[in-house]
Amino acid sequence: MTDTHNADDPTDADSEPQTDGGRVYHEPPETAPLSDRPLPERLRAAVPSGARALRYVIAIGVALLWLVPLIGLFMASVRPLDQIIQGWWNFETLTVTFENYAEAWTFQSGPMRQAMYNTAIVTIPAVLAVTLLGTMVAYPFARFDFPMKKALFFLLIVVMAAPPELVAMGNYNTLRTTGLFDTYMGLILVHIGWGMGWVVMFLRNFLLGLPEELEEAARIDGASRYQIFKSIVLPYSAPALVSVAVIQFTWVWNSFFFPLVFMRSRENQLAPQVLPLMKGRLQIDWGLVAAGSVLTMIVPILLFVTLQRYYKQGMVAAVAD
């Protein structure tokens, strides 16, 4: 093998060649030298070629296609009904109006103003409580042995698989007899009990990864089990707790069946419950339905967009573990 510096090798004038005992070597520049390549070639290199460009086109096309129904919903929410009937994708006459939102906000059979407030009042405490109580159940479940552990595991799985309809009848009667029917508290409690299944399983799986040394170190330092929980377990689980809270928030906020069964009076209705009422009897007022829908979904969507890392991680961990 020989050093292959031939005399006819193109050596650039701008990057001073240095000799290394007969061999030419070039001090590498920080970034790719622009003068080495003509502009068209650089442009060509920057734009993905052939098959890959096609993949980009298809990928972006598909992703947009997936959004079309939601875009339509949004367009309908800001246009008057006569224009929606012509097709929301029709832009010959475009009037942007917030009339639909105003109407939804004060909708007679369930004003969104009230419904959104109700949804928040139910969702926030239900999520916070299930997250905290779920961690408290999950920690010993992941760490210690105790009687009936297998049975508890089984029950959690059953509840994770069960349809919400299965508990509707029992809870209906329970809430009736305790006077919690058609109250915030009643619905909150149902959500906590129902969410416990997956929250505990999820956090148990997460806490199985908690290094025992952390707790042992804290015990040697003299911490009680409760202090360990507060100062070791909770901070360690913080990312998982955020995932749980975000996912549980979307589920509780979006849930339709439980409010439908347990919230009956007009002033107690939750936002998802009100939406089907907006359809009306004859001609559907799409603008109203769309505005109500956008108001309802904007909360979970904003949450997803801001915390999507946790949401996605949690989703994957919840089912893949």
Binding site: M1, D9, G21, P28
Partner: protein, 354 residues
């Protein structure tokens, strides 16, 4: 068999923001075992991946014999590659892993069985053939991945840090094993490592890379005997060469106020470094009568059995000395002496004056 040539090959990433390789020019002869040696991030793996066809050069050309191969997919180059983490297919048994390249290329089953059995014997893994990769030891995994590379008789054999995940004993064993196999098969081989001992012991030629560019190409003896730049000098050897920096005034190198060394070779450069390998320096508590001496203070003495490593402070920097034995202890004032024939002189650009 195949000769590999790289002609002014550069590779840029991130739209030019990162320069992985810059104007590589080199040639690997038929059947030669060439080692790419350099610190991590020096671009040696990227260079290997360009030869494999896993990356395309941004500029320049790569030839296998007289065929230009850059732009052709790896499957068409008849190269085999061993990855750092072995890249064994976890859902296939050892046999299926080894068989896979043959299967993909449509080799008939009888021939496949025969060739798989051959390489299994060559690499001594006959007993693990039906195991999953997860069930066998690191060394056996390494052998499996070598077998998979060898089985289809590639014309170029590429290895990316193949021994770095093995423990020290296995690494020694696999080193000689690899060398044996390469000798036996005579396949043109490019081997990437950051471990100079591996490079020195296995390579017919060593290509030293840093910052994405080639610093020196030499066989192991020459690389040790004549490092062309201070960078290579400081990279090769364990511990590497000591460099005394100073000012060249009328044939005298002034290291500091009252320390001087004679100039080993004529040069017009004013800032120079005198390099001496740790094994070429003697430590003495008595002043020496030659000019080739430097005073210093012993910082630590590390008896390593085979030799004693003495770290001596000279003018604010530490000089490593390897001696068979010594009476010097920490804190002693000592004199370091060496033979002028063991001294190297580097000019102000850090290049060997020869």
């Amino acid at each position: 068999m195949t000769r590999i040539s790289m002609r002014s090959v550069s590779k840029y990433f991130d739209g030019g923001d990162t320069v992985a390789n810059y104007k590589l020019d080199m040639e690997v002869d038929d059947g030669e075992f060439v080692v790419f040696l350099g610190p991590s991030g020096c671009g040696k793996t990227t260079a290997l991946r360009m030869i494999a066809g896993l990356e395309d050069p941004s500029e320049g050309e790569i030839y296998f014999d007289d065929d230009r191969v850059d732009g052709t997919p790896p499957a068409d180059r008849n190269v085999a590659m061993v990855f750092q983490n072995y890249a064994l297919y976890p859902h296939m048994t050892v046999r299926e892993n080894i068989e896979y390249p043959l299967k993909v290329r449509g080799v008939p089953p009888e021939e496949r069985d025969e060739r798989v059995a051959q390489v299994a014997e060559l690499l001594h893994i006959e007993d693990q053939m039906e195991s999953d990769p997860g069930e066998i030891s690191g060394g056996q995994r390494q052998r499996t991945s070598l077998a998979r590379a060898i089985v289809r008789e590639p014309s170029v054999f590429l290895l990316d840090e193949p021994l770095s995940n093995l423990d020290a004993k296995l690494r020694l064993e696999m080193r000689s094993e690899l060398k044996r196999i390469q000798n036996e098969l005579g396949i043109t081989t490019v081997y990437v490592t950051h471990n100079q001992e591996e490079a020195m012991s296995m390579g017919d030629k060593i290509v030293v890379l840093n910052d994405g560019t080639i610093r020196q190409v030499a066989d192991p003896e020459e690389l040790y005997a004549r490092p062309r730049t201070t960078w290579v000098a400081k990279f090769i050897g364990s511990p590497p060469m000591n460099l005394f920096e100073g000012e060249n005034r009328d044939g005298i190198v002034r290291l500091s106020e009252d320390n001087t060394l004679p100039l080993p070779t004529e040069t017009s450069s004013t800032t120079v470094s005198v390099g001496v390998r740790p094994e070429d320096i003697a430590v003495s508590t008595e002043p020496s009568d030659t000019d080739w001496t430097v005073p210093g203070t012993v910082k630590t003495v590390e008896p390593l059995g085979e030799y004693v490593l003495v770290n001596v402070e000279v003018g604010g920097s530490v000089v490593n000395v390897k001696v068979p034995k010594t009476d010097a202890a920490a804190g002693d004032h000592v004199h370091l002496t060496f033979d002028p024939t063991d001294a190297y002189l580097y000019d102000e650009d850090g290049e060997l004056v020869a």
